[in-house]
């Protein structure tokens, strides 16, 4: 049967592809690798669709699948290469200036720990609630909160330089 392609109705996953691409780009930066992650996620989601609980949110479920695919990729990659660990003293501030601000932010984001990148973007960009982010990442909500706090502080350091004000008040 032939039919005009532009009249093709959408698969239920389709409306979530732009959001998945945005999140993947935050995780991997490189466009091709990010789209590879989206493709792997969609394929896995199609294969695992019978496990999708019908009363839950499809978008959150797809992000959960992406998280799992990404974590598996990181794990298998870290088996092959030496993991580089940052500590704060090694971090050099990104360059300042309005023109390069977004470029600097992208650089800073790339230098965060993967779990920090995830909470920052799931909450700050994808607008998931803390509860939803906890489900997507399969961690307790307290872990989401502490990662978010650390992620924001580290991002501040990376963007503003090592002379950032004391970030955690002593209570």
């Amino acid at each position: 049967m032939s039919y005009p392609k532009q009249c093709m109705p959408n698969h239920p996953f389709e409306e979530h592809i732009p959001g998945l691409r945005r999140y993947a780009r935050a995780l991997l930066r490189d466009r091709t690798r990010a789209d590879d992650l989206v493709q792997d996620t969609l394929e896995r989601a199609l294969n695992k669709f019978s496990l999708f609980r019908r009363d839950s949110d499809l978008r959150a479920w797809l992000f959960t699948v992406m998280h799992n695919v990404h974590v598996n990729q990181i794990r298998s990659a870290s088996n092959r290469m030496v993991t580089i660990e940052y500590n704060d003293s090694e971090m050099t501030p990104a360059r300042g200036g309005d023109v390069t601000a977004l470029h600097d932010l992208a650089n800073a984001l790339e230098r965060l720990l993967p779990e920090h990148r995830e909470v920052l973007v799931l909450i700050g960009v994808e607008q998931f609630s803390y509860e939803e982010a906890a489900r997507v990442l399969d961690v307790p909500i307290g872990t989401v909160m502490s990662r978010l706090s650390r992620a924001r502080e580290r991002l501040s350091i990376l963007l503003e330089g090592g002379t950032a004000p004391q970030l955690r008040r002593v209570k």
């Binding site: 039919y3 093709m8 698969h11 239920p12 592809i17 691409r21 199609l46 960009v125």
Partner: protein, 253 residues
């Protein structure tokens, strides 16, 4: 004004930044920020981070989606749990029944694919509270005309009221061989039953009823000339078979 605002926790600062702070606490927190310059500065910095991250990443939403991604969800699937289960079932049947060899050699690959799609469509849309259908039963004749036109076949909506199911409406979906139609029915308890119709593909032969079950979702499907039909629901197999007989008679023209 003489009362000193209650101190805020780190969690509350972040919740405020993300618009997730309980409404009754917002005023208190803002009062605190007015006197704690350091906390106020952190809030401003974190809000700026969110805005900057959005500015960095939101443009991705406006990029054209690479065709390979759209094709991933639209192309017929190769290995699927339902199909794997179906294949095993058919192979097992081969040991018992003589006709099974003929049976699994020919139509299953074609039929199982639309049955899988029917099951997925059921799981997605039967759970939908706000928009279970595109066109409601109030416009039944329009619905049937529209979907008939899109599938290039005269369709009908079988009457399942003897089983307690009323038509809710229907929608157009992507099938593996072109457009597919989904009609949704619902009983007085809100349990939903869907009838999925799509082209069966070149060389498909009319088939007997076949039954698959996965994760509580039951699919009864058959091919009638060039159309594939699948009834999907949670009702038990015998009852689903009864409904399928009614559907088969109503649609066999």
């Amino acid at each position: 004004m003489t009362e000193k605002p209650r101190a805020v926790s780190d969690e509350e600062l972040h919740a405020y930044v993300d618009g997730r702070l309980a409404a009754e606490r917002v005023a208190e927190l803002e009062a605190w920020l007015a006197v704690d310059a350091e906390a106020a500065e952190r809030v401003r910095a974190f809000q700026a981070q969110n805005r900057a991250l959005q500015a960095l990443l939101d443009p991705v939403l406006n990029e054209p989606v690479p065709p390979r991604l759209t094709e991933t969800v639209q192309r017929p699937r190769r290995a699927l749990p339902l199909r794997a289960a179906a294949a095993i079932a058919w192979l097992a049947l081969g040991g018992i029944a003589g006709y099974a060899l003929h049976d699994w050699r020919t139509p299953p690959v074609v039929t199982a694919q639309f049955a899988e799609r029917a099951a997925v469509a059921h799981v997605v849309y039967a759970a939908e509270v706000q928009h279970p259908v595109e066109v409601t039963a109030e416009q039944e004749s329009h619905l049937v005309q529209w979907l008939s036109k899109r599938l290039g076949k005269e369709l009908r909506t079988p009457d399942f009221t003897p089983f307690g199911y009323q038509l809710v409406g229907g929608r157009l979906l992507p099938g593996d061989k072109g457009p597919a139609a989904q009609f949704m029915y619902q009983d007085s308890h809100g349990a939903r039953l869907t009838l999925y119709v799509s082209a069966a593909g070149e060389g498909a032969q009319s088939s007997a009823f076949r039954y698959e079950e996965e994760a509580g979702t039951r699919v009864l499907y058959w091919v009638d000339r060039d159309l594939g039909f699948a009834l999907v629901g949670e009702l038990d197999r015998t009852r689903l078979m009864d409904v399928a007989h009614v559907a088969y008679q109503a649609l066999n023209f």
